[in-house]
């Protein structure tokens, strides 16, 4: 710890290691965005309610606004940037695009990180289960309907099914 009160920590983000000097009180959301320049994680409330700042910590969704970066020394963090592939979109990104499951895009990274994890844990969710899991991400633009459609489509694709519509209204 130097005179400024900052501590040196080792952060592992999206598979890359970083050494940063941060004040203990600096939120993980701010460190990701400012110190690591990973601006895909967005800040909407700093109260843990809106979900825009959701990242994965050791594969589990977490509100980065409710974590002090110093707590993350040595843990694996995945942000939205960690899901980007050389060869195109993940099934979830593709499905959200096809179903118009985003408008302004501000809540979108938090939703993607949440569901990349959720669909691994629950690969065949009902619509009600998707809505329940999505309830921790606030969206003011879409009314959620197309996001839900996108997630269900992604789940179908990830299970090896077709992306086509299977269910009647």
């Amino acid at each position: 710890m130097d005179g400024s009160g900052k501590i040196s920590i080792a952060l592992k983000v999206n598979g890359d290691s970083h050494e940063v000097m941060v004040a203990p009180r600096k939120l993980l959301s701010d460190v990701l965005r400012e110190d690591l320049r990973l601006t895909g994680t967005h800040v909407g409330c700093e109260q843990g309610v809106c979900g825009a700042c959701t990242v994965l910590v050791d594969g589990r969704p977490a509100r980065s606004c409710l974590i002090f970066a110093v707590q993350m020394d040595g843990l694996n963090i995945t942000t939205i940037e960690g899901f980007n592939r050389e060869d195109g979109y993940s099934p979830l990104q593709q499905a959200l695009h096809e179903e118009h499951g985003l408008q302004c895009g501000f809540c979108t990274p938090g939703i993607i990180t949440t569901f990349e994890a959720y669909l691994v844990e629950n690969p065949d969710p009902t619509e009600a289960e998707v809505r329940e899991a999505l309830s921790g991400n606030l969206c003011r633009c879409t009314g959620y309907q197309n996001i839900v459609k996108g997630i269900l489509k992604a789940a179908r694709v990830m299970r090896g099914g077709s992306s086509g519509e299977a269910v009647a209204q």
Partner: protein, 791 residues
């Protein structure tokens, strides 16, 4: 102007093209205000008052100025040296002029009012220092409701006004009093909409960069209206408009909150110039909920003069809006629109209104997606009340009073002209979709088993786009036109721009489709450049639902001009006398011979190269280049329309409302992109449901705002919003170049009316009417507690 384009032949317009902008948003590569790196930028933080109403006796900033990382601490007196105050004095009868200094000097007027600004090397340090600013207040009696604002001897919010009634207008057409006298009955209704706020998921923020050498300000801000903002900013900073550039990056939602030039933003700009260093500001969520902009909180009373068979002979309405403490907009302007368009799809000529706006110690109001949101609930709720009191079917009451297609164009009592709308058709469509008679049968069975099921209808006529003539006739300064340019580059790439700025609606793709349609290229070949006042032409920005009608139409017209010149050059290159037999399709020239179109191996790129690089071979007298500029002023008012039908069940024990089914039939004319339009319908309707059941800014009697977090100010989650069934019924607007009518706010109006009417239908056996929104479970339970439902 009449439309000579056959909209059914459109190749690009109307197609469900997935959005271009999705890529950056899906990959976390969007570029919102906070993502922009500005080396050396300082961070601003505002100290906000805990009081609702108080005189500022003194502000001690000495301790704060010495805090670590602090560069400056400024107050209203400093800002008064660097900026001009705002004065709003439009020539509107009954509206008192109002004004405000950049930051408060004498008084603070609401809980959250900014009183000082700390500038430091980071936000954390700025907040630490803000805690060291000591303000000595003399608390004054707070005014926290319309009643207390209008009470005899009420404390004055604005001491230059005679009372807190900042605006009052009345109007009468025909003989509404006579209609009441002739009527079999007068049905009286009351409607109260809660105080709401926009809650974009991205809060407000800005970054000001002052170039001392060039004496030029570059102002980065997520805004819906780059040019009007620039005009205001330059004026308030005593700069020429040439000295200010406004640049809007990606914006995480606006909904009407990102239009006005707010005091915080002006302060940041002034500080950047004063300190000669870049200054940036990010509003936190508490500030956003307390102090950005509020909306709605209006109460309406109607009196409908009716015959026993359900015909409305005349209508009177009174509306009062709690406008808050600060007027960033003329205080009457929202309530007045409600009054002007209230009669909507009904044949009512004897009509009077009384519009009041009141100042209170709350955050000032502004337009929030569908500022006239209460309108359709009021009209449709009145129709339901007429049916209830006369023991008639609410649908029959509507059929008796609703305009028929032969009635159009129809001049409303207020002078507004309705044409090219189809409310009756959309109403019949949603009723058929639910199976109306079957519903009433199911409902009767459910009521017999204590399941309180209800159906609510709301027929919406949505004013989407104001033309300049509207403002003139209303005596309000303002313009409704829009401007665009289209430029084909030497390589054949197509660039375009218009004075709108998106905040999530997804302009880039639909507007590309408008250009592509007008010019004759694939939308993928068109790139829109929005939000930079140095690049885009001066436009009125994005508000209301004018994007498609004003912006899309202007781009389409500019693109048509481009096509005309391109084909003239092509004809010349092909040695033809006239371009009459040529067209451009997907960037390739085709010629019609003997009724058949053939590709003539000439592309847009070939034409462009000649236009820029070989101009001496252009037709005689033709200027080089392919750059086109257009301005378009839409008709005074353009309307779209829809019917919303909502089925609910209400649990009388807990008061909870469950939405069981929701059907929308909408006519919004030519649709630029059907996917985007559907997204707007979902979002608007969800916002309306939200305001009806969940949202409420809550001030206690001492003016304390108790809803300063998203745990208290409730937005619905994915569990609270249903799936919407949408039936498109689009008919073109004959007064617009591509038949566009616009949309995106009507959903809010429809939801508020449909859900409210459904709740009241469900509660009919209890003999109660829910009038005060939001219809929280507590309020509904309160209505039915102790009441025994009749059969």
């Amino acid at each position: 102007m009449s439309n000579d384009v056959k909209t059914e032949n459109f190749r690009s317009i109307g197609k469900p093209v997935p959005r271009k902008e999705d890529h950056r948003f899906l990959t976390g590569n969007g570029r919102y205000l906070d993502d922009i790196e500005i080396p050396g930028a300082l961070h601003a933080c505002f100290l906000r008052t805990p009081f609702a109403h108080a005189r500022i006796l003194s502000i001690d900033t000495e301790g704060a100025q010495k805090a670590p990382g602090v560069v400056a601490v400024v107050t209203g007196r400093d800002l008064a040296e660097w900026t001009t105050p705002l004065r709003l004095a439009p020539p509107i009868e009954g509206l008192h002029p109002t004004g405000m200094t950049t930051l408060p000097i004498e008084k603070i007027l609401f809980n959250g009012d900014p009183v000082a600004c700390v500038v430091a090397t980071d936000r954390y340090l700025a907040e630490d220092a803000a805690e060291m600013v000591f303000v000595d207040y003399e608390p004054l009696e707070p005014v926290a409701s319309i009643e207390s604002a209008l009470a005899e001897g009420a404390p004055l919010i604005d001491e230059s006004l005679p009372s807190n009634l900042v605006s009052h207008q009345i109007f009468s057409a025909g003989d509404p009093k006579g209609a009441i006298a002739r009527a079999d009955r007068t049905v009286e209704c009351f409607f109260s909409q809660g105080r709401q706020t926009h809650v974009p998921i991205e809060t407000r923020g800005c970054a000001a960069v002052w170039d001392e050498g060039r004496q030029h300000l570059t102002f980065h801000i997520g805004t819906q209206v780059p040019h009007p903002l620039r005009t205001q900013l330059a004026g308030r900073l005593k700069l020429s408009e040439s000295q200010v550039t406004v640049v809007s990056p990606d914006v995480g939602g606006g909904f009407g909150q990102k239009i006005a030039l707010y005091r915080e933003e002006l302060t940041v700009a002034a500080l950047a110039r004063h300190l000669k260093r870049p200054v940036r500001w990010r509003e936190d969520r508490m500030e956003n909920l307390l102090a950005a902009s509020h909306a709605r909180e209006d109460v309406v009373r109607t009196r409908a003069a009716v015959t026993n068979d359900g015909r409305v002979l005349g209508l009177e309405m009174e509306i009062t809006e709690d406008f808050g403490a600060y007027c960033f907009y003329p205080a009457n302007y929202i309530a007045r629109v409600v009054a002007m368009i209230l009669t909507g799809p009904y044949c009512i000529q004897d009509y009077a209104f009384d519009v009041k706006a009141v100042l209170t110690n709350k955050c000032g109001n502004g337009p929030m997606r569908a500022p006239m949101s209460i309108t359709s609930w009021v009209m449709e709720g009145t129709m339901d009340a007429v049916a209830r009191e006369l023991n008639l079917d609410p649908i029959e009451v509507r059929r008796i009073n609703m305009l028929k297609s032969e009635d159009y164009p129809y001049r409303m009592a207020t002078g507004e002209v309705l044409e090219d709308i189809t409310p009756r058709e959309t109403m019949e469509t949603v009723l058929e979709a639910i199976g109306y008679e079957d519903f009433r049968r199911r409902q009767a069975e459910d009521w017999a088993h204590s399941v309180y099921r209800g159906l609510g209808l709301c027929v919406v006529v949505e004013p989407t786009t104001y033309g300049s003539a509207f403002y003139k006739s209303a005596g309000i300064p303002g313009s409704g036109h829009e401007s665009a340019w289209v430029r084909i580059e030497p390589s054949g790439a197509v660039n375009a721009s218009v004075g709108l700025m998106g905040t999530g609606q997804g302009y880039e793709t639909p507007l590309s489709q408008a250009v592509a349609e007008g010019l004759g290229v694939d939308p993928a070949q068109v790139t829109l450049h929005l939000g930079n006042t140095d690049i885009a032409p001066y436009g009125m920005g994005s508000r209301g639902a004018r994007g498609g009608t004003a912006g899309g139409s202007t781009l389409y017209l500019a693109a048509r001009d481009a096509q005309t010149k391109v084909l003239a050059i092509a004809a010349n290159m092909l040695n033809l006398n006239t371009p009459g037999e040529l067209r451009l399709v997907d960037g390739r020239v085709e010629r019609q011979t003997g009724g058949k179109w053939d590709d003539v191996d000439l592309t847009l790129t070939d034409v462009a190269r000649q236009a820029y690089l070989d101009p001496t071979n252009l037709p005689e007298g033709m200027e080089p280049g392919l750059e086109f500029h257009k301005s378009f002023d839409p008709p005074p008012m353009t309307y779209s329309n829809a019917s919303h039908l909502c089925e609910v069940t209400v649990d009388p024990e807990t008061g909870r409302t469950m939405i069981e089914r929701y059907i929308i039939a909408e006519d919004c004319g030519t649709v630029l992109n059907s996917i985007v339009v559907e997204g707007q319908q979902h979002g608007a309707t969800a916002l309306g449901i939200s305001g009806t059941l969940y949202e409420e800014v809550y001030y206690d009697e001492s003016g304390q705002n108790l809803t300063g977090s998203l745990a208290d100010y409730l937005l619905p989650t994915a569990c609270e919003i249903p799936n919407f069934e949408i039936i498109p019924m689009h008919t073109p607007n004959r007064r617009g170049p591509a038949g566009i009518k616009g949309m995106a706010e009507g959903g809010v109006m429809g939801a508020i009316g449909a859900v409210s009417n459904a709740i009241n239908d469900a509660l009919a056996p209890f003999g109660v009417v829910a009038e005060t929104q939001p219809f929280t479970p507590q309020r509904i339970r309160d209505l039915v507690r102790g009441k025994n439902p009749s059969g």
